[in-house]
Subunit: 418 residues, 2 copies
């Protein structure tokens, strides 16, 4: 035990020693370490990830490192994020167990989570989108996850007392919030050493963003919501690489950025990354597959995700209207007209927030520090730049004019016109 | 010491025993207890307040009780609020020492604050407004207090790290937040045993509020901002009985409701209570004083308070534009046009928030649980009801149509027209 009484990054050998000391993990392997397979597979920006398995069972070990792996040891990042990730996995797992991997073990000293291994053919959704695979249940599943996790952690369902207690707890995840503030709401709009883009094609576009006063006005409003508005417990990094899928299964992973923030940030993250996937498709088209049908499927998925979310979220609201939620007391919101009125306003505001955050997420993936495989895997730079430019142009429209849209089908129409 | 090792409400005798054990208090009296004057003067809704003095010096002792004094021991209320009051007094005292009484001593176990006694002729501002006294510096002083305490506790001046740490701390004051939610944002809009009004004159008006769907829509938006938006450290109970004045001095007391909330809540509390004072004046007019000149002074004070606040707040913003505040990074907001654009939007939103909260504060003082001396001291019920009805009609317009107003002078015009 004393070997792990203080933090140390594990490797494939020390990990086995560690597992031997943890009954909840070693029991998954039936305490048999003779034919153990241990693979480090972390391809993310921040952490070590090991898959551990033998013929008896398997699990994943995720260990946070005290810096941003993508950038290097110079960009410090608290490993306490593992604590908030484990909290969020457990909380969201309670609310939506179908779409969240089970946590078997958490070690705060080692910043280490042991959790369910999502076996093949599970892959990262983004990789599926790049190769052109349709997931017929993805909108159904993601709308379920988003609706449940947001609704049940909001004041529509909870008391102020519970809300403020949990808001206070997740204020501790401030370093991860700061990273988001920097890479999404700040860096793309200023000169930053970390920014990059498909140069020279997008040089002028990146510059135009840094000179666009109206865009800066809008991103300031979104940043203020991100920093100040504790509306629900967010995943807070809900892009298409935080989702693992098969045709039948959808699992949301990696909520280490979790905190209480504006709901639209989660919805926008997912929609914005689907829109990036859409605009990248022309770069993946070849003589065997023109991707036209696939683009239609993505558009339909964008539309279905919002519409199903809207339907499920308002259904939860209706179902729990007389519950403990303190935002809309039944004694006040006591007739169908006023119920319709407040719900319509709430959902319209949420739609506009979601569109704004979707746009912010798109922009930062094209001219900011962290790009997406959807575009990066297009090897022809000119072709990649053409795709990226369309996405960027659309995102700018969305950020500036989001309040004019009333339905997701209008958004899909604009995407088609770009 | 052991006599005070656990909480007990003090009386005029036990208080002296207590003071003897506290050097920072007894030294103010030069350790002379022979000719001590101790008076319990708490006329508020929640606490015991003692004035302690002898020929050497003086101070005030404020002790929180574990219930709402106004209602009785049945309405429980954590005495931990004294901790948040002392925190807020110290923090706001640092930011604006001219207008906040100094804290000499705080005892968390006893829920007790020892602080500067504001000597006569200091009186509660509301009492001065009822008797018709002009305070020539009140707009200057209150705009100073509000601008400094809000600006310096916001992300315009502070880092996200400091902000989230303090937001988390003040989440602990949740019981006082809940009381506000109930008495301001809920009870007036529903049937509640605590509500009362000048009956039968306002029966129909109280009922109309409970049936007004548009009013309920607006109050929901404000409640959501109150519960979710951590914009700055508020006083959170900044009405005219939380201010003590002479012609030369203005002192803000009683921040036991302090928490991180929307700035407009403080500004609106003060403006709304000035507007109540205005509408009460006709009830105080008599043959010796028609109060016409005084009404003009109140309107001018309303106008000056906002305009001076606006001027001082934006001046602080300009002065600290290149400081540590993380909301608007100078590398992004790097030209005069965009600076003007974001500042204008920020101040317009804040103005509309302030008007909304002002209206909410007015409504609750006429049909809710806690009324104001401005109206209560009008003994003729019919006359009182006429004044209250005008205030109520104005507040309803303000709550519903606040977004149409662009300047405080427009508000003053509407007040005149009622």
């Amino acid at each position: 035990m004393s070997n792990f009484s203080e933090f140390k990054p594990l490797n494939e050998n020390t990990l086995i020693e560690y597992i031997k000391t943890i009954p909840s993990l070693s029991s998954k392997l039936n305490n048999d370490f003779s034919n153990l397979s241990v693979k480090e597979v972390g391809d993310g920006n921040l952490n070590l990830v090991f898959i551990v398995s033998n013929s008896n069972g398997s699990f994943v070990i995720k260990q946070a490192l005290p810096y941003v792996r993508l950038i290097g040891e110079s960009w410090k990042m608290t490993k306490e994020r593992a604590y908030f990730e484990s909290l969020a996995l457990k909380e969201k797992g309670k609310l939506c167990p179908e779409h969240v991997p089970e946590v078997y073990h958490f070690d705060r000293t080692m910043s280490l989570i042991g959790m369910c291994y999502l076996e093949p053919p599970h892959i990262i959704l983004r990789k599926g989108l790049v190769t052109g695979v349709e997931y017929p249940l993805i909108a159904e599943h993601m709308s379920d996850f988003i609706a449940k996790t947001l609704f049940f952690s909001s004041l529509l369902f909870r008391s102020t007392t519970d809300h403020k207690r949990d808001v206070a707890e997740f204020c501790g995840n401030v370093e991860l919030c700061r990273l988001t503030e920097q890479v999404i709401f700040s860096d793309p709009y200023k000169v930053s050493e970390h920014n990059h883009w498909t140069s020279p094609y997008l040089d002028r576009d990146a510059e135009a963003i840094r000179e666009d006063n109206l865009l800066k006005l809008e991103i300031a409003e979104l940043k203020s919501k991100f920093c100040e508005r504790a509306q629900a417990l967010l995943h807070a990094d809900l892009h298409t690489s935080s989702v693992m899928v098969t045709r039948e299964s959808t699992q949301v992973i990696d909520p280490e950025f979790a905190f209480y923030g504006p709901m639209g940030f989660d919805i926008g993250a997912f929609l914005g990354n689907l829109i990036l996937a859409f605009f990248s498709q022309d770069g993946h088209a070849d003589e065997t597959n023109d991707r036209k049908g696939y683009k239609e499927w993505i558009l339909k998925t964008i539309e279905n995700t919002w519409n199903l979310f809207h339907h499920k979220f308002t259904a939860l609201w209706d179902e729990h209207r007389n519950g403990a939620g303190e935002a809309y007391l039944p004694a006040i919101y006591n007739n169908p007209e006023v119920q319709l009125l407040v719900q319509k306003k709430y959902m319209t505001d949420l739609f506009h927030d979601s569109l704004g955050f979707a746009a912010a997420k798109m922009i930062r993936r094209i001219v900011g520090v962290a790009h997406v495989e959807d575009f990066e895997s297009i090897t022809d730079a000119a072709k990649r730049a053409t795709c990226e430019k369309r996405a960027l142009d659309f995102a700018k429209i969305l950020l500036k004019e989001r309040r004019k849209f009333e339905s997701i089908s209008e958004i899909v129409s604009v995407i088609r016109q770009i």
